[in-house]
């Protein structure tokens, strides 16, 4: 059998807590988003979270609702508490992870800008 991969509620609760914490504030200042896009695909992040980090039914949450800091993202990616497989430094260096963060944050920023433009009637 090929079982579905389920996203666990504890992970979602943890994510929510992190996202709402004082750490999840700054966006897009570290890392190279272009390199990050290549790493996003090359490291296989897209397989559960989609090409644009939009998430997917039953495999991985959307990651672009808020900006990430490296500390928070690193904690989740290196030591996931859900069914997500761990991406240790041996697999994904800090630089690569920083680039990935930059890529995901750039999507968040783009969406934020779009919504703000819509809100202001532009």
């Amino acid at each position: 059998m090929r079982p579905k991969i389920r996203v666990f509620i504890p992970a979602m609760i943890f994510l929510a807590q992190i996202i709402n914490s004082p750490y999840a504030k700054s966006a897009g200042e570290e890392g190279d988003p272009r390199a990050g896009k290549a790493d996003w695909i090359g490291a296989g992040c897209y397989s559960c979270h989609g090409y644009a980090a939009q998430g997917a039914e039953d495999t991985g949450p959307q990651l672009t609702k808020h900006a990430w800091t490296f500390e928070v993202l690193s904690q989740i990616v290196r030591n996931p508490i859900s069914v997500m497989p761990p991406f240790t430094k041996k697999l994904l260096s800090d630089d690569e992870l920083r680039n990935i963060m930059a890529y995901v944050n750039s999507i968040h920023q783009h969406k934020k800008n779009k919504n703000e433009n819509i809100g202001s009637g532009k």
């Binding site: 059998m1 090929r2 079982p3 991969i5 389920r6 666990f8 509620i9 090359g42 490291a43 296989g44 897209y46 397989s47 559960c48 989609g50 090409y51 644009a52 939009q54 997917a56 039914e57 039953d58 495999t59 959307q62 069914v83 497989p85 761990p86 991406f87 240790t88 041996k90 697999l91 994904l92 969406k111």
Partner: protein, 645 residues
């Protein structure tokens, strides 16, 4: 020593007539042999001593090489009593007698032959057909190698509890087997290969035996829990001459299908009491709905209790937009529940347990310790040891063996007996909260659709909504490979709006099952669409040709994520666990380099086709054009390059 006389005058004894003619004669080699000149003709062994004038003598009389009726004709007579409309097959010499008889004696109608390019397609087509038509089809598969091909599809049907009448064949008598292929394709017990995944099988030894076995096979297939059955039709029986006297002696028994078993009334009353008293009951339905009335009954039950329903999706059990449908909130509902009613649920264990796919595979319990689990179903009544599709053993507080749909009227009656005015008023409040929750979940879905609308490659949500935009005015049916997201996004109301799961998750089910369901929909005047995974189609793409050849209208919208994506994620999981090969998960899992052009593939088999389309803005128009073709009665395919999930 005198030579041994020939064997009995079998189908191979074209010139057994030395016993039938008087005088000497010589038999020319070309007249003595059918196809294979290496085997001595039985007639030669029986020739009288040579006559010097024999080679110039015209034979006085030859035995007949033709006859009016064959054993297979009687087999077709039997099949015609069972109401079978179609038989899907990839041709095989072992059932040439039966195939010829279906066509020329039976008039290729009821059943009509559907040509498939793989036996897996034949059986899966029959599987999908039942899901819509509600009655079984036949699938004919060549002995040994054909049955081997078909076996995965048989397992899917078995696990899905769907009746399919599988017929295979064998040359049982070694004395009459042609050397070479007929020996390679003969087997002593061919059904052994699939005995663990069929309900019943038989190898009739005579035509009367065939009649009784074929009728019995239909009866067993349709007794709940339903499932595939297998009859092996001996080739000699098929091809023997059926003399009038023999024919007159044969009878065909009447088919009598078992009434479906109903759950014990005492247990049902106990269950009703618990459900009425529950504060947070949950109903979960899996392979529950057998007939269109199943919807009506489940709605009555849910509304009587004002209880939320989780539709597990192996059948289409409950309307997707009903205010009590909280399938999207499964995990939370099960955590809160104090009573869970499971209807024909395959995996009861997972109601109260979670197993994590991490090293050691730890599991833990979820939900309330005091939660009562009530099960109604027939899954445990026909259970075999070898294949483990029966899932993990689960504790239930009340376990009722009986067909859930048959049992529901009594359960509803028992519940209504126990509902007083005060209780009804309380339950209305619960129902209102469920409706509010369902509304919130629907809004979340709508917001999500907007967020992913413009993604390229195309998002699942965009694909589904663009498809729906083009079919919402038709009497439509989503068939083939299961698509849980579509069943939640779209207004699923009529019983044919989707066809549930594949049974054993054997990939390759989707495309042929879609064609089978579309065949049944065609007969009912409905249009069929399927969201077709790319990897699934690649197993046996010849079924596209079958759809074109038999003019089965269906739209294939490819979900072309260019990978066996589930397995890609599995490989990734193991790579990460071992901290190696991070970027190697695409080896053995992706379908790239080159990318497959499904539109060309489909066009080569006679379908209207467009694509590949990765720009979501182009999708709507492409689907619209393809649907015009489908409405004309032909199959079409639109290749869409999609997000991974």
């Amino acid at each position: 020593m005198a030579r041994v006389k020939s064997s009995r005058l079998s189908r191979r004894a074209f010139l057994g007539g030395s016993a039938l003619v008087g005088g000497a004669f010589s038999v020319s080699p070309s007249a003595a042999w059918s196809e294979d000149e290496s085997t001595p003709s039985p007639a030669k062994a029986a020739l009288p001593p040579a006559n010097p004038d024999a080679e110039h003598t015209i034979p006085a009389e030859l035995p007949p090489m033709t006859f009016k009726r064959s054993g297979a004709d009687f087999m077709v007579d039997v099949i015609k009593t069972l109401g079978v409309d179609y038989v899907a097959c990839n041709p095989g010499s072992s059932f040439r007698g039966l195939q010829e008889s279906i066509i020329n004696y039976g008039g290729n109608a009821q059943p009509e032959i559907l040509t498939c390019c793989h036996e897996e397609s034949s059986v899966a087509l029959a599987h999908g057909y039942y899901k819509i038509a509600g009655k079984p089809m036949m699938a004919m598969v060549h002995g040994t190698v054909g049955l081997q091909h078909a076996s995965m599809a048989i397992y899917n049907a078995y696990a899905d509890r769907v009746p399919v009448l599988v017929t295979t064949a064998v040359s049982a008598d070694a004395n009459t087997r042609r050397p070479g292929v007929e020996w390679q394709h003969s087997v002593q017990d061919g059904a052994a290969m699939v005995r663990d995944i069929t309900k019943w099988d038989d190898t009739p030894a005579s035509l009367q035996h065939f009649a009784e076995s074929q009728v019995r096979a239909m009866k067993i297939a349709l007794s709940v829990p339903m499932g595939p059955v297998l009859i092996t039709a001996d080739a000699d029986l098929q091809e023997m001459e059926l003399a009038p006297a023999h024919q007159a002696s044969l009878t065909i028994p009447k088919l009598s299908i078992d009434r479906h078993p109903e759950g014990d009334s005492g247990a049902v009353a106990e269950a009703a009491k618990l459900l009425v008293a529950a504060e947070s009951p949950v109903i979960i339905a899996d392979r529950y709905r057998r007939t269109p009335n199943g919807h009506t009954l489940l709605i009555q039950l849910a509304e009587a209790l004002q209880a939320p329903v989780i539709d597990s999706g192996n059948r289409f059990n409950f309307p997707s937009q009903h205010p009590l449908n909280l399938s999207d909130d499964r995990a939370q509902l099960l955590r809160e529940a104090d009573v869970i009613l499971a209807l024909e649920l395959a995996d009861v264990w997972s109601l109260s347990h979670v197993l994590r796919d991490v090293p050691g595979r730890p599991w833990h319990t979820v939900g309330k310790d005091t939660c009562k689990i009530l099960t109604i179903g027939t899954a445990g009544t026909v259970i075999k040891s070898n294949y483990q599709d029966f899932q993990r053993y689960a504790e239930a507080d009340i376990s009722i063996a009986g067909d859930a749909e048959t049992t529901l009227p009594n359960l509803i009656a028992e519940i209504k007996k126990r509902l007083d005015t005060g209780r009804v008023a309380t339950l209305q409040g619960r129902g209102a909260k469920c409706a509010e929750r369902a509304g919130r979940l629907r809004k979340q879905r709508e917001a999500r659709i907007q967020e992913v609308w413009d993604l390229s490659p195309v998002s699942s949500e965009r694909l589904i909504m663009e498809l729906y935009e083009q079919i919402k005015g038709d009497d439509w049916s989503l068939v083939g490979a299961p698509n849980p997201l579509a069943t939640r996004l779209l207004p699923m109301e009529k019983y044919y709006h989707h066809t549930g799961g594949s049974g054993a998750s054997g990939i390759g089910y989707g495309a042929p099952a879609a064609v089978g369901s579309a065949l049944a929909n065609r007969d009912a005047g409905r249009i069929s669409v399927t969201i077709q995974p790319d990897g699934d189609l690649m197993y046996a793409p010849g079924v596209l040709w079958t759809a074109a050849h038999h003019q089965i209208p269906i739209l294939f919208v490819m979900f072309n994520n260019r990978a066996y994506h589930q397995e890609l994620m599995h490989l990734q999981r193991i790579e990460n666990r071992l901290e190696r090969g991070l970027r190697n998960f695409g080896i053995g899992t992706t379908l790239t380099k080159p990318n497959i052009d499904f539109s060309k593939l489909a066009a080569s088999m006679g379908l209207y086709a467009e694509g590949p389309i990765a720009d979501p803005a182009a999708l709507g128009a492409a689907i619209r054009r393809a649907m015009e073709v489908v409405r004309r009665g032909e199959p079409a395919l639109v290749d869409v390059v999609t997000q991974p999930r």
